[in-house]
């Protein structure tokens, strides 16, 4: 049976009934799979992609925010550092100024003390001078008296000498007194 039929078998013949049913099958699959099912699956895929993309976007935004805050913080820190340095500088300046001022004051004070001391010394010296001069006067008078006492008889010349000496002494006394008053 097979052998006699084999002559009719033409594998390259396209059977129109099979062709038509094949086309219907493809149409059905196209309608239900390509138009309905696969787009549904793809939609979910896209949604998930969007969700993940959105998540990444959010993470990026948060990161940027954190970066901004960090930057601000760093800026503030730098600013406070700068301010601190400025304060320190200012303090240093102030310190130098204070030290300078104090030194100046001290110098002025020292000068004043020195001046006073000098004046005091001068005054003391004057006083001592005056005193000395008075004592020298009296001593010399005494000395003179003694000399005179011994040789007053030597004549009138000696008397004149003594008188002149005494006069000079008196003048010196006057000027010493004046100096004391001054």
């Amino acid at each position: 049976m097979l052998v006699e039929l084999a002559a009719d078998y033409n594998i390259l013949r396209i059977d129109w009934v099979k062709f038509t049913f094949g086309a219907i099958a493809l149409a059905v699959v196209y309608f239900f799979v390509a138009r309905k099912a696969v787009p549904k699956v793809m939609k979910v895929l896209d949604e998930r992609h969007d969700a993940i993309e959105g998540g990444i976007e959010r993470a990026k935004r948060a990161e940027a925010e954190a970066e901004e805050i960090r930057r601000q913080y760093r800026e503030k820190l730098e600013e406070s550092h700068r301010e601190y340095a400025q304060e320190l500088e200012k303090a240093k300046e102030q310190r130098t100024a204070i030290i300078a001022e104090a030194r100046e004051e001290a110098q002025v004070e020292a000068q004043r003390i020195i001046e006073t001391a000098k004046a005091q010394i001068e005054a003391d010296r004057q006083q001592a001078m005056a005193q000395l001069r008075g004592e020298i006067g009296s001593l010399s008078t005494e000395l003179a008296t003694r000399i005179v006492g011994e040789s007053l008889s030597d004549g009138a010349a000696q008397t004149r000498v003594v008188d002149r000496f005494l006069e000079e002494l008196e003048q010196q006394d006057e000027s010493a007194k004046q100096a004391e008053v001054r």
Partner: protein, 280 residues
């Protein structure tokens, strides 16, 4: 127990070492022409096993995709992941490499074509059945649909004159070479291409199931338990060898069915891309 039981049953008792003197009858192409149930359709072999298997394949595809596409959520389960993997496989291995991102519109169509062709191939894995695509009518239908699509899309994207002009006179060549190129292009693009597109799938399915049938027929023929004990043992050994061959080629055939479905879809995608782009 496989290949065409119906034909085997027609010749009972013909075995190796048998005493009725008949030899081995290899499977013929007759196995691709199952007895029709409604034969009296003019110009046709009628309604036969192929259409039933086609129905099974379409049903399987529809079931698979309705299962894949129900209750979808952003966080997929195993079932949804499998469906998504299939879509992404089509995208990343068929449309994207051939058409790029502009081919994303074709993902659903290509997914449908791929799964339908695959299901129509896989019917051959049912014992005693044939792959639907071992009949040229179905593969020719697919190829014709793709062929018409390429022309329609080409005319739409490049203009009627532009499309045929670009196809027949591929731009960017020295003038004299068109003497050679133009006839070749006309032949290859408009005649050879759709024919090979259909024949490739048909021929691999045809040859594959024929090969499986040979192993099945051979195994069945060589098994003769009613012979003398020694010969029966030998027949069992022969038959076992045939069974091993059958199993090996069965696995091989699964791979071929997958590859051919993939190749057909890939080529369809490639052809459509040539219509989308002006120059290739």
């Amino acid at each position: 127990m496989s290949a065409d039981v119906r034909i085997l049953a027609a010749e009972p008792g013909c075995h190796l070492f048998g005493d009725n003197g008949c030899g081995f009858e290899a499977p013929t192409i007759g196995m691709f022409f199952p007895e029709p149930w409604f034969a009296n359709i003019p110009g046709s072999t009628g309604i036969d096993l192929y259409l039933v298997l086609l129905l099974v394949a379409v049903g399987a595809v529809l079931l698979l995709w309705s299962w894949f596409s129900k209750k979808l959520s952003l966080v997929p389960g195993r079932r949804q992941s499998a469906g998504e993997m299939l879509v992404l496989f089509i995208r990343d291995n068929i449309t994207r490499p051939t058409m790029g991102a502009k081919g994303d519109n074709f993902i659903p169509f290509m997914t449908g074509v791929f799964t339908l062709i695959l299901a129509m191939n896989f019917t051959g894995l049912i014992p005693g059945m044939l792959p639907v695509n071992s009949n040229l009518a179905f593969t020719a239908m697919f190829a014709l649909v793709i062929y018409v699509m390429t022309i329609v899309i080409g005319v739409k994207h490049q203009g009627g004159w532009g499309y045929f002009h670009n196809k027949i006179f591929p731009p960017g060549m020295p003038k004299w070479i068109y003497v050679l190129v133009t006839p070749i292009e006309i032949l290859s693009v408009f005649l050879i291409r759709p024919v090979t597109h259909a024949l490739r799938l048909f021929a691999t399915m045809f040859a594959g199931s024929l090969l499986l049938a040979v192993f099945a027929y051979g195994g069945w023929y060589m098994l003769n338990l009613s012979a003398e004990p020694l010969l029966a043992a030998v027949s069992v050994a022969y038959s076992g060898a045939a069974l091993l061959g059958y199993i090996a080629f069965f696995v091989f055939e699964i791979a071929i069915m997958l590859i051919q479905a993939f190749v057909f879809t890939l080529l369809a995608s490639l052809y459509i891309n040539e219509s989308l782009e002006s120059a290739h």
